[in-house]
């Protein structure tokens, strides 16, 4: 339990948690867009620094930050390899980095690309780690409200998303239990060799699948018992109000996007 709970939201009452979820989602989209459109090395680096600063403001653990970035290493390396020698104009100064050779533009493009990956992942984990899933879901539902008129099952989709998040830690625990049970019977995951280890995964899928179905059935009965009947007549858990701080953050992200176009 302890090792996967740090992947998810934990309440700390920081400044970022108090932001309105609608605004948070909108700002993240704007920020993601500005990350994607930005081809200026200095500006993009500044954006990454800003995200890391927000990480600090949100009082999230540095270990989690390092873990997040390290888990992307393989993408960084493959991007840099891919970028080596890709764009060369005659007269370019070439940079040698071990076995790889870069033109100046190629190196910059590679770094930009890496920053892009890191930025998007950091942004996403910032949002998920500073927002309770239910609040995130309610925010999403409010933003997507217009689509209800088109008979899109917005509420149901958002509910599914919340419940999936809610059951993630339990499922992870269950995988662990099944794995141990099968190890005890001499099968499963720990065998040597990639292919036999891979085959070891399949016997785990069936019990996991059955357990999930049973859980889902029981949960559906429990939800219905507790008067759940879709989004009809529901009151939101919290009252959402945009404050001045929300508008300022929104304005800031708009300026950020504008800056990308100007530079």
């Amino acid at each position: 339990m302890a090792n996967n709970s740090f992947l998810l939201f934990q309440k700390q009452n920081t400044w970022l948690e108090q932001w309105d979820p609608r605004m948070k989602i909108t700002v993240s989209l704007i920020f993601a867009a500005s990350l994607l459109l930005n081809h200026n090395l200095i500006l993009k680096t500044a954006q990454i620094v800003l995200l890391i600063a927000l990480w600090w403001v949100a009082k999230l653990s540095w270990r989690a930050l390092v873990f997040t970035l390290l888990s992307l290493t393989i993408f960084f390396i493959s991007t840099m390899i891919y970028r080596s020698m890709l764009i060369t104009n005659p007269g370019d100064t070439l940079i040698h980095l071990g076995a790889l050779t870069y033109s100046q533009q190629g190196a910059i493009d590679g770094i930009l690309m890496c920053e892009q990956i890191a930025g998007i992942v950091l942004l996403l984990s910032l949002v998920v780690r500073t927002t309770s899933p239910i609040i995130l879901a309610e925010g999403l539902e409010m933003i997507l409200k217009p689509f209800k008129k088109l008979r899109l099952p917005v509420h149901e989709m958002v509910m599914m998303f919340t419940i999936a998040l809610r059951f993630l830690p339990i499922l992870i625990e269950e995988v662990d239990k099944i794995r141990k049970a099968q190890m005890a019977r001499g099968g499963g995951f720990h065998r040597k060799g990639i292919s036999s280890r891979f085959r070891g995964v399949f016997p785990m899928l069936m019990p996991l699948f059955v357990l999930s179905i049973l859980r889902a059935k029981e949960l559906a009965v429990a939800m219905e018992s507790r008067c759940y009947q879709g989004d009809e007549g529901r009151t939101p858990i919290r009252l959402y109000q945009m404050h001045r701080r929300d508008y300022s953050v929104l304005a800031f992200s708009a300026i950020n996007l504008l800056l990308v176009f100007i530079v």
Partner: protein, 280 residues
Amino acid sequence: MLDIRNASFSYTDWEDEEDTLHTSRVLHQVTASIAANEFVALLGRNGSGKSSFTRLLNGIELPSEGTVQVEGRFTHDSPSLPLIRRAVQIVFQNPENQQVGMTVGEDIAFGLSNIGYPQQQMQERIAWAIDLVGLDADEDRPVTRLSGGEKQKLALASVLALSPKYLILDEATSMLDPLARKQFVATLHEARKRHPFALIYITHHLEEVLEADRWVLFREGRIHLDGPPAQFLNNEALLAECGLELPYYHALALALQAKGVSVPASLGIEELRDLLCRFN
């Protein structure tokens, strides 16, 4: 009042070999009624139909024959269902499969939000429910960080927040250790004193329901016996037949009575101790 008249119920399963629908009847013409604020225990062996019976009471399932009425509303009248569900709440066996929220507060809020509880009073109500069950956790506590006993107390808080008139506990204590079980039962009765509701209690542990007004014994989908506990306690053969075991001190009292020693049938642990001390 809960009024169940001649209710039958079957599950329909897909039979693979014959490629046909197979219906198995699990309740046969059951008639019973449960009054306001009554404490009724439902007993019987595994598969005798206790859980299926309770699923009829709040309209989760409808009887194939007969009727179920809650406070004068029929469960087959679908416009009444929201009111019926609100009046009849269930706490299930596995706490993890009945929690929807990530935190204590969100989980209690789920039910409140479903019934359209005014948003301004929700926070207050959540605090009220946490206090009612004596849950030692604030509302921001993630549900994954609760012990089994605390999870079940949360489940209780979540349903009591809706002020049900009837509360069904479907083996709600069976996953708890003996101490947690005792605490849960004490909490339940404490809450009932402060805000009375009828209690419909499914269990295999007789010591939890010695104080019940009535015991209802299910056997193969029928009500075999329905009456005050005393009527069962004198009938050891019946209890044994239905896989029920008396608490040891109770069995001892009955055995003593049979030998002509005058002891009260509702012999508790303290009385038993005093009795033994007298012989010393």
